[in-house]
């Protein structure tokens, strides 16, 4: 490829060549890199979210910085949804994870006065455990039956809080401790989001992730390999629940309030929309979807009542035009990038 100079005297004929040609060896994890350009080709997709988020955190106005927090939280919920979906569990209730984390953090702060630096990690772990416990009895259900239960659980919890007036009842708990300043908020959520994106992408590509994907594909066949699928599903559920619980605990301390809205349907439905628009099965697509849908919803605020109409229209157009999801589309195009090279004689 690079001996164009040596052949310069011979007649020049050019042809198109895929950029990834020389990079991709037969194996998927061995790369043969020979230039900065090729290095950049490989690293650019990984650098874009990192550099992009860091730049956004600096250039955005105060208002849009708040939007960035909410975007990131939805991105986390979408990643959490995607992990479950890849493991064969289609959840309609990310709000369960979000709300459980939010209420745990809120209560720990309100009743024990613990600082957010303690409540957020604790709520992440125990929120994950608690949500897993809630769903453990229905882990054997498949398909729509599992989905229905996840949909109903957060709605049930809201009614329990309303009826028993625990945890502040309908008023919720307000005046909760906040993170020191907005920069801590922004960089905490950016760090969590990037860590989740890269960490769980790696996990889903590991053997563990392969087993989860195989369960989604054919659970009886995985059982038939001597693997306890319920244990693997439990672990996947815990991971997804912990991500959602972290998002909830974080938002509790951003709003300095926790109340019944944390179990709202938004937190269940929007992550699914994000994953569908962005592209399922990659985590990155789900995150991208959240970064498109949530700001869009903000931009449409000026339209008042028509907002939801345009928003819905946008969703329909996108899912019809790019049913595979934006990320898969971009990924495909990226792998098809071509450059002109001189044909060797």
């Amino acid at each position: 490829m690079r001996n164009a100079e040596s052949n310069s005297k011979s007649f020049k004929k050019r042809r198109k060549e895929r950029i990834d040609r020389g990079i991709k060896a037969r194996s998927s994890d061995i790369f043969a890199l020979s230039s900065w350009r090729e290095m950049l080709y490989l690293t650019a997709p990984r650098l874009i979210p990192i550099v992009g988020l860091l730049v956004l955190s600096v250039v955005l106005s105060h208002y849009w910085q708040r939007v960035l927090l909410s975007v990131s939280v939805f991105a986390l919920l979408a990643i959490s949804w995607d992990i479950l979906a890849q493991s064969g569990m289609v959840s309609l209730g990310q709000a369960l994870f979000f709300g459980t984390g939010a209420y745990l953090a809120g209560n720990m702060n309100h009743y024990f006065g613990w600082s957010p630096y303690i409540t957020i990690p604790l709520a992440t772990i125990f929120g994950g455990l608690l949500s897993t416990l809630f769903l453990l009895p229905v882990l054997r259900l498949r398909g729509i039956y599992f989905s229905m239960v996840t949909l109903v659980l957060p709605l049930m919890l809201v009614r329990i809080i309303e009826a028993t007036r625990i945890f502040g009842g309908t008023e919720g708990l307000s005046g909760l401790g906040a993170l020191p300043n907005r920069w801590v908020e922004v960089y905490l959520i950016i760090a969590a989001l990037l860590a989740s994106l890269f960490g769980f992408r790696r996990l889903m590509n590991s053997d563990f992730g392969l087993v989860l994907k195989a369960i989604n594909d054919n659970d009886r066949s995985v059982m038939n390999a001597g693997i306890n699928i319920y244990w693997f599903k439990t672990q996947a559920l815990f991971i997804a629940a912990a991500i959602g619980a972290f998002a909830g605990a974080f938002m509790t301390h951003v709003y300095m309030f926790v109340g019944m809205p944390v179990f709202a349907l938004d937190y269940s439905i929007l992550p699914i929309a994000a994953a569908v628009v962005g592209g399922m099965g990659t985590l990155a697509g789900s995150m991208l979807g959240a970064f498109i849908l949530v700001p869009l919803s903000e931009l449409l605020r000026g339209l008042g009542g028509l907002r939801i109409v345009f928003y819905g229209l946008f969703l329909v157009v996108f899912t019809v035009a790019i049913p595979e999801g934006i990320f898969h589309y971009i990924q495909r195009k990226y792998h098809q990038f071509e450059r002109w090279v001189e044909v060797e004689r």
Partner: protein
């Protein structure tokens, strides 16, 4: 019989609602034997496999393996003891390439225990196993996504997944069905090789000619009951079998 049986099925019963799928089934198999199980459609052959491998729980009766009662155990525990099965309706991981399909059984706790940890290069082990069942090494067929593989290869993949578990007892549920004569002929040596390695095999089959050539002993099921047990010739001369099995065709 000199040694104690490897697998013993005693007074096994299974009803699905009002249907008596398995009715007082008794048989045993000794180590190293190749037992053929035949019977007309709906005679309970696959149900018997599902009961032994734990996918279906019996209504009554006992299944013991190496003297251990495994009745009602979940499938993954039964596999860990060394009983592997294939499915009549192949169950590959359609999204994954054939060799990646093999990673799942190679990841099994049973394999880890036998190998003493993880295989260094499992992709290589996977490709070796696939070559053993007839995925040609120099073609790209092992790298193809399972959803595009033809039935013959899917059946081989199913067999390779069972072999990967290094089982002592392999149950093949209609491995030959849907395969051409040439394909069957190419799989028979693989089964004979497994026997030479000392594996015990139960074969559920409709392809009697091919089965009788390799089976030591054959049992015949009809309406969930065992109606004959013996060598291939003995079984085929049994009038009850002629009536139930061949007469019904």
């Amino acid at each position: 019989m000199s040694s104690s049986p490897l697998l013993e099925v005693a007074e096994l019963r299974k009803n699905f609602g009002g249907v008596q799928a398995i009715d007082d089934l008794n048989f045993e198999i000794i180590e190293g034997e190749l037992l053929g199980v035949i019977g007309p459609n709906g005679s309970g052959k696959t149900t018997a496999v599902n009961l032994i491998s734990g996918f279906v729980k019996p209504t009554e009766g006992n299944i013991s393996y190496r003297g251990k009662n495994i009745t009602g155990w979940p499938p993954y525990k039964i596999v860990r003891l060394g009983i592997a099965r294939t499915f009549q309706m192949v169950k590959p991981f359609y999204q994954l390439p054939a060799y990646k399909n093999m990673i799942i059984p190679l990841y099994s706790p049973r394999v880890k225990k036998i190998v003493g940890g993880k295989y260094g290069d499992r992709d290589a082990v996977a490709l070796d196993l696939l070559e053993e069942v007839g995925f040609e090494r120099d073609s790209f067929v092992a790298y193809k996504v399972a959803s595009v593989l033809p039935q013959g290869y899917l059946k081989r993949l199913e067999l390779a997944k069972a072999i990967a578990l290094q089982p002592d007892l392999i149950i093949l549920d209609e491995l030959f069905s849907g395969l051409s004569l040439a394909e069957v002929a190419s799989i028979v040596p693989i089964i004979e090789k497994l026997r030479q390695q000392g594996k015990t095999i139960i074969m559920i089959e409709h392809r009697l000619k091919e089965l009788f050539r390799i089976a030591d002993r054959v049992i015949v099921l009809n309406y969930g009951q065992k109606i004959a047990d013996g060598s291939a010739t003995e079984v085929m001369e049994n009038p009850e079998v002629k009536n139930a099995y061949l007469g019904s065709e």
